[in-house]
Each structure stands twice: as C-alpha cells, then as structure tokens.
C-alpha cells in the first residue's frame, strides 16, 4: 500500500472533522508549547544553580589540602608559587584563583560574627561572584591590599559602614590566635544574603602575613565548558600528588543533586503534560475509527490488508501530532522570546536563594530538549494510535458493511 495514498487519506480524514481535530490539535499545541517553555525555565534554573555553585568561590575544580573540608583552617595548607599557572595544553580554562580561606571572628563596636575570611588576588577573582557583585565603595586593589570588603548584610548586622575599622581574629599557622584591625574598603551586594553574611575578603598577601605563612588553602579553577572538567581533573590529580582534587559536584553535593533532579524534572513535566493528552488523542482516534467503520469495512472488503488499515490510523495520529508539535514548539519558542531577560522572582527571594538560585530566572531553551520533546511527542502519537488501530482491524468487513 503506497504511503503517499495513506498519507493523503489521513490528511483528508483529519480535515473531514475540522472542529474535533482542531480542538485536539489545539490541546497538543498548548501542551507542547507549555512543555517547551517550562523545560527552558527548568534548564535556566539548572544552569543558574550550577553557575551559582561554581561562582560561589568553588570553580569547576578545586585543589585542597587533605582534611581541609572536615576541619578548615590555615594548618591544612599547601605551597604554590604565586605565579603558578595551569600547565600548557589544558584547554578551556577560563581562569584560576589561589586563595587563603580561614574561619574567623569579626567584631565591630556593635557586634561579633563568625565568618570565612578569604585572602584573594583581585586580578584572579574574575572567576567568582566577587567580580560581578555590585560594590559600594572600592574594590580591593591587589593581592597586597590590607583593607577588607564585606557583604552589605554583614555590615547591617555589625552596624558598621564604609571606612570603619573592624577587628578580625583567626588562628595563625603556629596555632596561636592572631588579631588585626582592617578598614572597610567596600560593601558588596551579592545575589544571596547568605554569602554577604559569610564571606569577608582581603588581599591574599595581607592574610598570609596575618597568619604567618606564605601558603594557600585552595586553588580554584574555572572552565569555559564543563565537559572539559574530567580531563582537567585528571591532569590536576597527577600534578598535585597528595592533595585533594575535587569538582564542584563533590564540593556542592546539594546543588549537584538539584542539577540531576532538573534533568529528571524535564522528563517528568513532559510525561505529566503529554500523558494527560494521550487519553484525549486515543479518544479522538477511536471516535474517528468508529465513525468510519463502514468505510474501513469496505477497504478491507476490497482487499486492503490489516497492516495498511493500521498504517492509516497511525499516520493519521502522527500527522496530527506532527502539526501540533511543530506549531507548539514555535509557540513555545515565541513564549520564551517574549520572556526576554527572564522572570523576576525577587518576591520569593528567600526561597529562591535557599535553592542556590538567583532571583532572575532566565529561560534556557536547549536544542536537545526541543528535539527530545518533538521525538517523544511523535512517539506518544504512535503509541496512542495503536489501540484505535487495533479496534480498526478487529472490525470484520462483513459486519462493518452491514452497519
């Protein structure tokens, strides 16, 4: 049986019942458009969580001294030349930062708080949130800058401000407590208040001087593309024998779990939406088959084989889905375009930040997702047509002709 004829008959059968098939088509279009838009938001959320995790002083890969994660302190350190750079041949490296990060206590005249005191080289911090955070006052000038920048939320807690001096206490490399005064150069405004209350920055040379050791506690490396991560990690493991080389998924397991969940959410959302739709499609096709029972009986009577009858019903369903999917994807992409820069979730900022996300949710449409939606939808269309097709071939020609 020529496919062209079956295709022609299927299209004309669809056009024969314009209103019913139009309603079905509209349902497919809306469902596919909703799935495309929702999935792009899920991908945006996923991307956001990954970016936030990486930018949160983690990077894609981090080198730490053994035991630092369990008991962070200046004693868990390693030495590294200040002009260290990744070996030649390591592709996709966007940047790296060598830091000293120690637990500390910060005091103002009004309050005391526990913090992470981080010594940085500002020129290397293009890989972390520090470079993109809004800043009141001045940024650190270089690695030897002995001033500090603190988060706005911490400044409010300590009831302090730009230009004021704060005292910071931390343990030195010799195990004794060190205390020093630092003037506030700038107040940063990060996406999450948690970070603002947690991180205080100074020049890495200044912090090394305070703890009394020219060492580092972490080397953070960021990549342009995540797929290069595993190759880089292997190189670093060889390079830093005896140190821990960990990727962001190991360092931020909660964010990594959410990242994986987002992959599943894309499919869950698809099957919830399209699964409900399949029942409607089956119903429409069964109605269509039952209405044409005499016609199908005649086709069988004059010699059409059962497999051709099945093919006709399957093609009819596939054509409906094909049109619905094409229009639905176009509508979905138009919806994404209409969202522009993204959805502002600042009204729910606390909840959003607890998921490690930013308050602006940008849709990220992925070609692979759209292709997957298209293929799965067409697959569901075929599956949905199998029962009506089975009903069609169960019709005995003689019985059908007598109706």
């Amino acid at each position: 049986m020529p496919i062209k004829l079956l295709f022609q008959m299927s299209v004309r059968n669809i056009l024969r019942h314009r209103r019913r098939n139009g309603m079905m088509l509209a349902a497919v279009v809306v469902a596919v458009a909703a799935v495309v838009m929702m999935n792009s938001l899920i991908r945006g959320m996923q991307q956001d969580m990954a970016d936030a995790a990486v930018e949160n002083l983690v990077g894609h890969v981090k080198v730490l001294a053994p035991g630092y994660r369990d008991d962070p302190g200046i004693q868990k350190n390693f030495e590294l030349a200040s002009d260290w750079r990744p070996p030649d041949g390591v592709a996709e490296v966007a940047g790296w930062a060598m830091r000293v990060r120690v637990p500390a206590v910060i005091m103002s005249e009004r309050g005391t708080r526990g913090i992470q005191f981080v010594g940085v080289n500002p020129r290397q911090e293009g890989i972390s949130f520090l470079s993109s955070a809004r800043m009141a006052g001045e940024s650190l000038k270089d690695a030897s800058d002995g001033r500090i920048i603190i988060g706005q939320a911490l400044a409010e807690q300590l009831e302090t401000g730009l230009g004021r001096r704060l005292v910071i206490i931390t343990q030195g490399a010799d195990g004794l407590n060190r205390e020093a005064g630092f003037r506030i150069a700038g107040l940063y405004d990060a996406d999450g208040e948690g970070m603002e209350k947690f991180f205080v920055f100074t020049g890495v040379d200044a912090l090394q001087k305070m703890v009394g050791a020219a060492v580092f506690t972490e080397l953070s490396i960021r990549l342009h593309q995540e797929p290069a991560l595993f190759a880089l990690k292997e190189i670093l493991v060889e390079l830093f024998t005896g140190l821990e080389v960990l990727d962001w998924r190991e360092l931020e397991p909660q964010a990594a779990a959410m990242f994986i969940f987002a992959d599943a959410a894309v499919l869950i959302w698809f099957f919830v939406m399209m699964g409900a739709l399949v029942f409607g499609l089956v119903n429409t096709l069964v109605t269509s088959v039952m209405e044409r029972i005499r016609e199908l009986g005649m086709l069988r009577a004059v010699g059409m084989r059962p497999r051709s009858v099945v093919a006709q019903v399957v093609i009819e369903s596939s054509v409906l889905m094909l049109i619905g999917v094409a229009v639905g994807i176009a509508l979905g992409l138009a919806g994404i375009f209409a969202m522009g820069d993204g959805l502002d979730l600042s009204l729910w900022s606390e909840g959003v930040e607890s998921f490690g996300m930013r308050t602006l949710l940008r849709p990220v449409p992925l070609f692979d997702d759209v292709l997957l939606i298209a293929l799965l939808s067409l697959g569901l269309g075929v599956v949905a047509s199998l029962y009506p097709a089975w009903r069609a071939i169960k019709i005995k020609p003689l019985e059908a002709l007598r109706r």
Partner: protein, 235 residues
Amino acid sequence: MSDVSVGNGVVVDCAGVSRTYQEDAVPVHALRGVDFQFARGDFVSLSGPSGSGKSTLLNLIGGLDRADAGTIAVDGVAVNALSESELSDLRLHKIGFVFQSYNLIPVLSAQENVEFIMQLQGVAPGERAERAVESLASLGIGELAHRRPGELSGGQQQRVAIARAIVTHPVLLLADEPSANLDSGTTEELLKLLRRLNDDRGISILTATHDPMVMGYAKRRVVLRDGAIVEDSAN
C-alpha cells in the same frame, strides 16, 4: 493459495456449502448444502425472500465470510483454505465488489476512488490514471472525475463504484442489491450498463437482488429459499 481442479469455463464452484449463524443462541441455517456453479461470462441473479441465503452465498463467494461446511472455489482457488491476508489478496485481484450503499471513500474524488484499488495492486501512477479516466468515461461519467462522492447523485455514485470494481479486470463482479438505493429510471440505466459490460467485455456478474428488474436483465436466474436453491433457470 491452494488450487482446485475445475473446468476451464467455471469461475465459481460451490459444493455442499452450509452456513449457520447464531442469533441469540438460536441457530439460523442461512445455507444448507448448496451446490452452485457459475460459468465465465455469465450474468446470474440470486434472488429470494429475506433470509433465503442469497446475500450469505454472495459473501461466501466473495471471501467476506467463511462456510461451515462444503467447498468454494473462485477461479480455481479454494477459498475455504485461505488465510485472512490471502483472502484480501483474492478479493483485490480476482473480485470486483459493488455494494448496496456504494461505499465510496468520501475523502477521495471519483477518479481517486477508482484509482484506489489499483494503488493497492501496485499499478504504476501513469497507467493508473489512464485506466481510471478510461473506466469512468466508458460509464459516461468522465466529466465527474474530480468530484467527491458527496457531490454526486446516487446513480452517479453507483457508476463510480462499478468503475472501481471493473477497472482491475476482475474475473468476477459481485453486486449486492445494486439497485436498492436507486429510482427505477436510474436502476434501468445501471442494468443496461451491467448488461453491456457483460455482453461486450465478457465480465462475469453475480448479483443478489430483490428487484425483478435486475432479475430481468440477468441471463440466468437462481432462486433461493430457506438456504437452498429452489430454482435455477436461464432468462
């Protein structure tokens, strides 16, 4: 398909054919051991009151139903032994059907309806179109080739159905109550047409009918009653 040995001039050979239906658990004997032969080039009407078994015999010969007992051979092929797919092939290649309600495909034009069977047979597009146009023209409806069934009268639709049935040059044309939905004028035109096809082209025609006019145009008249042949005579 398994072949049986029949005379060269015999298109249909039925021997001891019985068919019983169950209606509300009550057996209804539609045919009781019918013997019937049908020669090539013949035009036979099967008639009889409702429930006499004429349509049942027609359906059994056409492979749309299966006999409970007896044998049926169409053009030397034993119908009883065929699978569903083989029956489909038999209907497609050897038998032309004309139904009471025309049963044209509503979404296809008259020409496409006629071409449809040839498409199932795998005839090349050029030849298909040529034969369909020729077939419609020979039945006097060439100018209606591009109309859909809904745009045609009953008589015109029945002509398209006949064109569809004969375009594949079947060995046998089966017509079940072909005049049932037609007025007498149109019926007469249709019967003249069938008779012309039988006389000029030698198409073998077997029709089940209540209509005396149809019986009058056939060359041979077979009457059934209570599932048995009670009269078999030449017109």
